[in-house]
């Protein structure tokens, strides 16, 4: 292989190896903090557990509530989705922001209805 071809090969490998950086650069977020997300949090009040715990482990609580309810018929009011809704009023400004950001699809909404801000607005207007 001559030097010219070798350079092209190195370039191809460089593009592959640096693809995370390259993709980011192409998307125009280089050097900016546009990657951080901001959540719409309730103005006041405490959640059922502290913030750090909830951030990492809320799925356990929801899952526990689901299992208890479906299998044992015991409803844990604190841990119900409905209870969440009392403070976190809509899905797109709370749940979805993080979930979309890290690419995790919650199973909750396959059965449960958790209104989006748009739906909530429409409902308010309808009343």
């Amino acid at each position: 292989m001559n030097k010219f071809m070798a350079k092209i090969v190195v370039l191809i490998f460089a593009l592959v190896l640096l693809s995370p950086f390259v993709v980011n650069a192409v998307r125009g977020v280089m050097g900016s903090s546009a990657t951080a997300i901001d959540l719409v949090l309730p103005e006041s009040g405490e959640c059922v557990k502290d913030k750090e715990y909830m951030r990492a482990n809320h799925m356990d609580i929801l899952k526990e509530a689901r299992v208890k309810t479906v299998r044992d018929g015991v409803r844990i009011k604190d841990y119900s989705l409905k209870n969440c809704q009392t403070c976190h009023t809509n899905r797109d400004e709370f749940c979805d922001r993080c979930h979309n950001y890290v690419g995790v699809k919650p199973e909750c909404f396959e059965c449960h209805h958790f209104p989006t801000s748009k739906e909530r607005k429409e409902r308010c207007e309808g009343n």
């Binding site: 292989m1 490998f13 190896l17 995370p20 280089m30 997300i37 951030r55 990492a56 690419g103 995790v104």
Partner: protein, 240 residues
Amino acid sequence: MLSTCYTFSAYFAIVIFVLGILCKVWKYAITPNPLKISLTPAPTNAAGVILRVILDASLFNSLFKSNKFIWLGGCALHLALLIVVASHIRFFVSPVPELIMLLQTFLQSIGIFIGAIFLAPIGYLFIRRVWVDRIRFVSIFADYFILILLFCIGLSGITMKYFIRPDLVAVKTFIMGLISFSPEPMPTNPIFITHFTLILILLAYFPFSKLIHSVGIFFSPTRNQIDNSREKRHVNPWDR
């Protein structure tokens, strides 16, 4: 302090990883082939050779023909690596593309198996290495080391997924900060710190280890040369 330390280490490891590999690629690319040494029966045209290399690199065709047990272990390990890497893409792009979301949904549905299919072949290959006397004889410390390293990476990953969870938003923010050159704080979950440290070790060790086979396979002259010595004169670059 932790964040600064890890941000520097991360860039350091990435630079070694990328430059190390590129140096190897450069060396492999420019070192001449004085003679035609294709292993026959070999393809007689370029398309055939490309197919041959792709089959070897993707399905481990040659290994399949020579040893089914190692092929099975190798395939399982590499497939698991592929899945694991694919399921990490979501931490490196924002917003997450639709395709990656679809993949993620699928991987979520098979959940626990991902961990198992990653750790099982490592265990299998380790046991095989110790068990078969002639393979044990030719094994060196580095061969065990790399299996142990991968095993620990897998184990810490599984631990994070099911037991001691980090704040994923913080994790992604940290990683996005790294790849967009605007450092963000390092998450403090100890398992994440372990996982991340091991990966940095893997990255920095990669170009100096046997893992370079992943690059080398594309340069192997017995596989990537066209069998056309009689039809086209091969010229030795250092003996024209």
